[in-house]
Point group: C2
Chain length 241, copies 2
Amino acid sequence: MDFRKRDNVSVDCVIFGLDTDGLKILLRKRTLNMFSDDYPVVDDWIITGGRVFISKTLEASANRIFEDSTNFSVFNRTQFRTYGNPSRIKSDKDLLWVRSHGVKNQSMTIAYYFTQPIDCIDVDENEFKWFSVNALPELGFDHYEIIRDAHEDLKLKIMVEPIIFDLMPDKFTLNELQFAFESVLDIELDNRNFRKKVLKKTYIVPLNETKKGTAKKPSKLYVFSRDVYDKVSEKDFIINV
Amino acid sequence: MDFRKRDNVSVDCVIFGLDTDGLKILLRKRTLNMFSDDYPVVDDWIITGGRVFISKTLEASANRIFEDSTNFSVFNRTQFRTYGNPSRIKSDKDLLWVRSHGVKNQSMTIAYYFTQPIDCIDVDENEFKWFSVNALPELGFDHYEIIRDAHEDLKLKIMVEPIIFDLMPDKFTLNELQFAFESVLDIELDNRNFRKKVLKKTYIVPLNETKKGTAKKPSKLYVFSRDVYDKVSEKDFIINV
DNA sequence: ACAAAAGTGTTCGTCATACACCCATGC
DNA sequence: GCATGGGTGTATGACGAACACTTTTGT
């Protein structure tokens, strides 16, 4: 077993989360002070990443990075792209930061995204923060591009795979499910038509249980049954855009 | 400029081609004789791949590999997956072959596929051969898996991007286009309904020109206009499955 | 009783599906 | 003139789109 890491390949993780505000991304603070504590040379945000172990799978490396940031170990992981342009790192800021961390000027990264409800995750708030996908802060490296690609891929995948349920709690209401689609796709859906379609899906199973909100009518809860989903041939998914 | 190659990362290319028989893949012969010319230890097929240059983009490396195999330099290239399991190479055959070629037992490969009509491509027939996707020979490494993943990705992408036209000649008939969809998706389509949908698409432009076949009614030719396609908001693609 | 979100039905138009015959040409 | 693939129209049913009011609860 070889516990070294590859010196020229890393894994980056875009961490998506959903809460009642919508779709968010977990970012890590990046700062670098060279002259004074008050005037950081670098002061922005990045997605989490790290080098890969020589003798582990890429997936294992991605899981470890995800776990380090989130203290959570359910891995809804999708590999979506590999970035290998040698001039990816070229801004002064990025070069400074890389050098000051004693990392080789590596250029290749395999990018994954992870999808889960935000309230599963307990982060160190000094280092990490959730940002709405529509209001991202200044980002280091090419991480804006990586996040955009991840989001595009996620939009595609939720049309054809049941990945939306990874963003939901186990038990959810139909309105929560609709909100999840709306948040990811950044569109609005008609509530009545949405319910009609959902109720036809055998893999979305109603419970004899309701969710009591703050001060309103309780709503019925449903679960996603992966067993049923895997057996149904009718794989057409919930919405068409 | 650094002309060395990375010693632990390669690029693999799945080369799709379409002709009147259907969808095919270009494979390279892999043989290894250790004891006798008559009894090769390794005798199967692989997709083409190679190591990547340190100071070039992955895309440039993929293009070079594609060009080396095909003598063709139009690059309809799609990156679809990166494979990094350290135990990818584990069969005796694969290990023998790797060692006898003085290559490090590398484990990581970024996989691309290329899409074009077969008759653009002129291959060295001693080394390369086209195989129907439904009748693949014995394959080395994990290349069966890679090809399957490429095909799955292609099936998805043709539903949502105009990649089908990469498999067609510039001028094509509607029946040829239908055959292309049928070949890639391995389904049958109703000819009349297909034509109805296609004729609605403004980006599929009829020519005042016909194609004379061997002994039948000449058929009308069409071209795909990327200019129009890029400007249309109606991006819904040709078929629904 | 009222505020707040949950839940429900109908109409209309479009589009997918299924299906069978005539057309233009080369030989 | 016949064989071959090219090309066309219609009827039916399903489904997406648009749309407004009633229900249930907590306070």
